[in-house]
Symmetry: C2
Subunit: 467 residues, 2 copies
């Protein structure tokens, strides 16, 4: 049987399982399922995009594809920034967006059970009605899905206090390459029965199985946050302030940094003045959700640390609207950079004492490659997003942007950091993963991948090369 | 070459690597390395106990044992309660207690790098000098080792607020079955480069490799705790209070429960009166380390919830010594039960709303098996320790104690819980792991074990059967 006949048979089989509207082959439509938000990653042409509505359908798809030897690329909304959800030629893209039900919210045990296609913001809003809080808040929280968040172990702005996605996942339901349904974890807060398979699947970027359900730990809804903002005459001064906050044992619920290029871009975009209004080199925005006087005192301590570090301006506000506005400015950086055409964003994470060095390293790369590089990031945990602006119609600029992207990773590693703090390896940082974790580490990855997915069915070529 | 000759050759080789005092074969001495603290688990006769002083020595031991086909059972102090560290016949017990150096404390990045033989309390005290806090605090914290804590994913009293060991581990150094050194994780707070191998090794009970170094996340040292104690006329009332605390979004730093049998045992042991002094059915001890007025307010809310639930007595004290005394009473339960001869302790973890049902289930088992069962536990996370007192010289009592032990697991599972919240599976709960996670789950465990330890070198027969 030749490949074409096999493909036709597979498509027939998938249509029988999913119904005609569950299988898309029209290239005009499949186009929008081919890639995520990372322009550097290659994206192939899928045989089909399938949209299962329940776990049994996922199992049927996996069994059919396994029998046909057709690779599967699972995906959520496609908000990723590593190409992990990008199609490979001839694959079946398994889009989980129709499985978007919140199956249960249990306030008494502070947990929720959801399907993978639930949008992060929808979950946040539903649990908020019960006085509960789902912390992970990636920038794309208003459209990314929980399944994608789990698969990439997504972070966000909350991580300094509340951790990353893996810290909120109690258990998973995963369809394995055999089509079998694996249930990992549990509904209890603690549990050590067996290997921690839950946390193995979290962040595995769709290479080990298809997540069809997640049991998530919720927290009490925190207080409305108070906010502190400080403007610095140098990134070094801001770095000293961040190190001081960590050293003093302060744990704000958010601590974001913007460098000069980010400040300028946002000022132009929003037609407003941030910081000291005199060309500040760095802005630090902190929030505390500890409530009332406690939050105020916490932020006043940070304010003092900022002033001691040389801030030219620092103040605390308990005005929620003002805090929201400051945060909106921080969140506007990427949009503001679109005036240059396009952007590439890195997500190196460095020890919190090395943030200023990373920013100055990026400034050097910016000068060398003659491209604007704006650095924003989660100062509280060292996870920085140096973002390179370039004109995508200018091939030379694009080449230099790619060089800059890699040079930033180099600087991050040299500072004792990691090449990805929250976006993942995907299809763009395979070589960098190998550099970061070494041959023994890659060997362990290959062994685990082969153990759970012996025929390399799921997301082949993502994260690491199998041979 | 027969087995005896092979053993002699292996011992010679080990002595060359470790020096004569690094290899113990005297049965009088190896006896104390044969088992942990769980009387139900089988323990074999080891060929030798080896005490490596550095990572290179561990690699040499692993390579020598792999070549000889001799199994390795890694162990720390032996404070475990699942038999995971128990010897199997003819094995080499790899005792990590000589590798007990704290290699680094980095206050600016709030982390420590340690060897596995460091005693938990020693680390706590050292980091405290820097104003830092290592949360995991298993009951045996004054003698258990970090390596053992990591291998069992140990919990403790702090978990309700600070999580379990895995939440404090940033990275590991592990000697694999090949003798190669795997480095997992990183020194940064965030990082998603590759599979989360760190959390796979945490809790793997020595079945996948030998941990030779751990990078641990530290927290700011919390305030001296304030304490609330409440006495209840029924376990149901205490259960209502616990559910109320969770429901109200309160997160004390500690929330422990003692049932009537525990209270009586401790009262007799310490010759004092706990609770309302009128035969209380349950005692709840809560602490808050949020500091000053905040802690007081938090505990006063809990006090009110206790009184609303029917507590016959409840009060808050900011007196640190009084808090310590109340906690000492809680910690004295197991010692107090030794008057009966011996004890077997379970560690089922149930959803926090089901604690009262678990305690009444244990009361029924106690009546049926005619044995005292005292229930103490970490009410804040549902992790309960029903502890069966028995006379070890009475074979019939021991048989009934074993039955009771299993019946408690049955009740825990039926309540939607797990068979082990913090002690692990080891050599006593293999069948229970299989029951809890099912055939697909066991299959995934076997696949991962074979992938990383194809010759079943490490801790064979622990956690699950390979075939």
């Amino acid at each position: 049987m030749n490949d074409r006949v096999k493909s036709v048979e597979l498509l027939d089989q998938l249509r029988r399982v999913l119904g005609p509207d569950g299988v898309i082959t029209d290239p005009d439509v499949t186009e929008s399922y081919r890639r995520d938000m990372m322009p550097l990653a290659p994206a192939g042409a899928p045989l089909a995009v399938v949209l299962p509505a329940d776990t049994a359908a996922v199992q049927a798809v996996v069994r059919a594809c396994a029998a046909a030897g057709t690779p599967i690329v699972p995906r959520g909304a496609g908000s990723g920034l590593s190409g992990a959800a990008n199609a490979v030629d001839g694959c079946v893209v398994l889009a989980m967006t129709r499985m978007n039900r919140i199956l249960e919210i249990d306030p008494d045990n502070r947990l929720a059970v959801v399907e993978p296609g639930v949008v992060n913001l929808d979950l946040r809003q539903e649990v908020e009605k019960e006085g509960l809080f789902y912390p992970p808040d990636p920038s794309s929280y208003d459209w990314c899905t929980i399944g994608g968040n789990v698969s990439t172990n997504a972070g966000g702005l909350c991580c300094v206090k509340y951790g990353v996605t893996t810290d909120s996942v109690l258990g998973l339901e995963v369809v394995l390459a055999s089509g079998e349904l694996l249930r990992t974890g549990r509904r209890t807060v603690k549990g050590v029965a067996g290997y921690d398979l839950t946390k193995l699947f979290v962040g595995s970027e769709g290479t080990l199985g298809v997540i069809t359900q997640a049991t998530l730990a919720l927290r009490p809804l925190p207080q409305a946050p108070a906010t502190m903002v400080a403007a610095f005459p140098s990134t070094e001064a801001a770095g000293v302030a961040v190190a001081g906050v960590v050293r003093e044992g302060l744990v704000p619920s958010l601590m974001e940094i913007m460098d000069a290029a980010s400040i300028r871009a946002v000022e132009a975009h929003l037609n407003t003045e941030l910081g000291a209004g005199s060309g500040s080199a760095a802005l630090l925005i902190c929030q505390s959700d500890a409530g009332g006087e406690v939050a105020k005192r916490e932020l006043e301590k940070i304010e003092q640390l900022c002033l001691s570090a040389g801030a030219e301006l620092a103040y605390v506000t308990t005005d929620v609207a003002e805090g929201r506005m400051l945060l909106a400015a921080r969140r506007a950086v990427l949009t503001a950079l679109e005036v240059y055409g396009a952007w590439l964003t890195d997500d190196v994470c460095v020890p919190r004492t090395r943030i200023a060095e990373l920013i100055s390293g990026c400034a050097e790369i910016s000068a060398r490659q003659r491209l604007l590089i704006a650095v924003v990031g989660h100062a509280g945990d060292g996870n920085m997003h140096p973002t390179i602006a370039y004109d995508p119609t200018d091939a030379d600029q694009f080449e230099r942007a790619k060089l800059a992207f890699d040079e930033i990773l180099e600087v991050g590693l040299a500072l004792g950091g990691t090449v990805t703090g929250e976006h993942g390896i995907g299809k763009i940082k395979r070589e960098w993963l190998a550099r970061e974790i070494g041959e023994v580490g890659i060997g362990a990855h290959r062994a685990i991948k082969r153990a759970l997915d012996p025929d390399n069915l799921f997301n082949p070529g993502s994260m690491f090369a199998l041979d």
